[in-house]
Symmetry: C2
Subunit: 239 residues, 2 copies
Amino acid sequence: MHNERLEFLGDSILNCVVASILYERFVTIDEGDLSRLRANLVKQQSLYEIAQKLELSQFLRLGEGELKSGGFRRPSILADTLEALLGAIFLDAGFNPARDVIRAFYIPILESVDPQTLGKDAKTLLQEFLQSKKISLPLYNVVATHGAAHSQEFEIECLVPKLGIQVYGRGGSRRAGEQAAAKLALEVAEQALVKTPAAGRKSKPRAAQLKLAGIATVQTTEAAVNPEPSPPPAKAANK
Amino acid sequence: MHNERLEFLGDSILNCVVASILYERFVTIDEGDLSRLRANLVKQQSLYEIAQKLELSQFLRLGEGELKSGGFRRPSILADTLEALLGAIFLDAGFNPARDVIRAFYIPILESVDPQTLGKDAKTLLQEFLQSKKISLPLYNVVATHGAAHSQEFEIECLVPKLGIQVYGRGGSRRAGEQAAAKLALEVAEQALVKTPAAGRKSKPRAAQLKLAGIATVQTTEAAVNPEPSPPPAKAANK
């Protein structure tokens, strides 16, 4: 793989075309949101998914080392290859053909994207959701830390008192644990507030709390692969 | 000024076109250097200089507050305006006309640019220069700090023993002081090694050292505006 210069060029075209697609498509969102959306759409994982749809790995010519190590399946190699391909199209055919190819990749993706939430982390999403319902901000506490210093795991509690939510998340850093907890809290909060059948009716706190007790034992992927004892069950239902 | 969305678009076009100009023009440099060159060419100061050549400030329509505060001369406002203008050209006329405008801005700039050094900091340049001459790396020492904790100034010594260089730089951080010292050391080293009339002849250490003693009292701009006592004179000549 010696396509780094082409990747640089392809990355530039990609960023430019995705910017112009977003500019046209989302006429009311500000430049900060345009930036966030673009960053998410052109990140390695997104390019890797496009490369997989194109079955790009069939066409890779790799060195023996990379073949043995399964390089043709590595997200970074496939994402880089896609960028190099776009660079080559731009060089061979010019801007408009490259733009059309990029549009064809992204139009279906944009059909299923929510511009308000794409690329936002769970803590931000939870905070925005609660603000939209005029509910005060969530609280995060470190409940416990596990493991030795070099491989510590943090267990974080996320509280939304107004909704009786008390859920737990784990992660390799305080921040990661908070994100895991926020993700869970958001699911619970949405279930309690949005998905209540009769929108006008007051939400049923008791039912929401009971649901919580069950949902809070759901583990994040990170925690699920780690066969440590479960975190304490949610206490909200017993308050 | 409510051109932020246009600025986002213009910035994207600019990055793409400058990438393609650099790709075509510098066929042997790698993607890291292409990236460094581009970052330098599209940074605020560079756009501000282009905006000044275009006398863009004449055409700004600013609010009263910005008029009073001299907003039409502010680098950030002029740089942003240039980006918005490029976004507007792209929207109105398409990629190729926008590309031609950007090319017209940058071709003259690129005539006078050294792709090996543009955008590199003084410490890196000094290190690369010394490596190219097979001279061991410079040493940096904090000689003194001045002022209270919140507005400390660092005085840094930069030594290149092989060339008898001992110069001083000052800055608001250790790093800034090192950069100032490296800048001075590079000037002295280039003078001693490159600008010696007969290239084949051995450099004259004694002469170089004497020059040093004078040059080392040259202050960086930062230090020049600060009426503190001068740093100690260069000691190399007395070794």
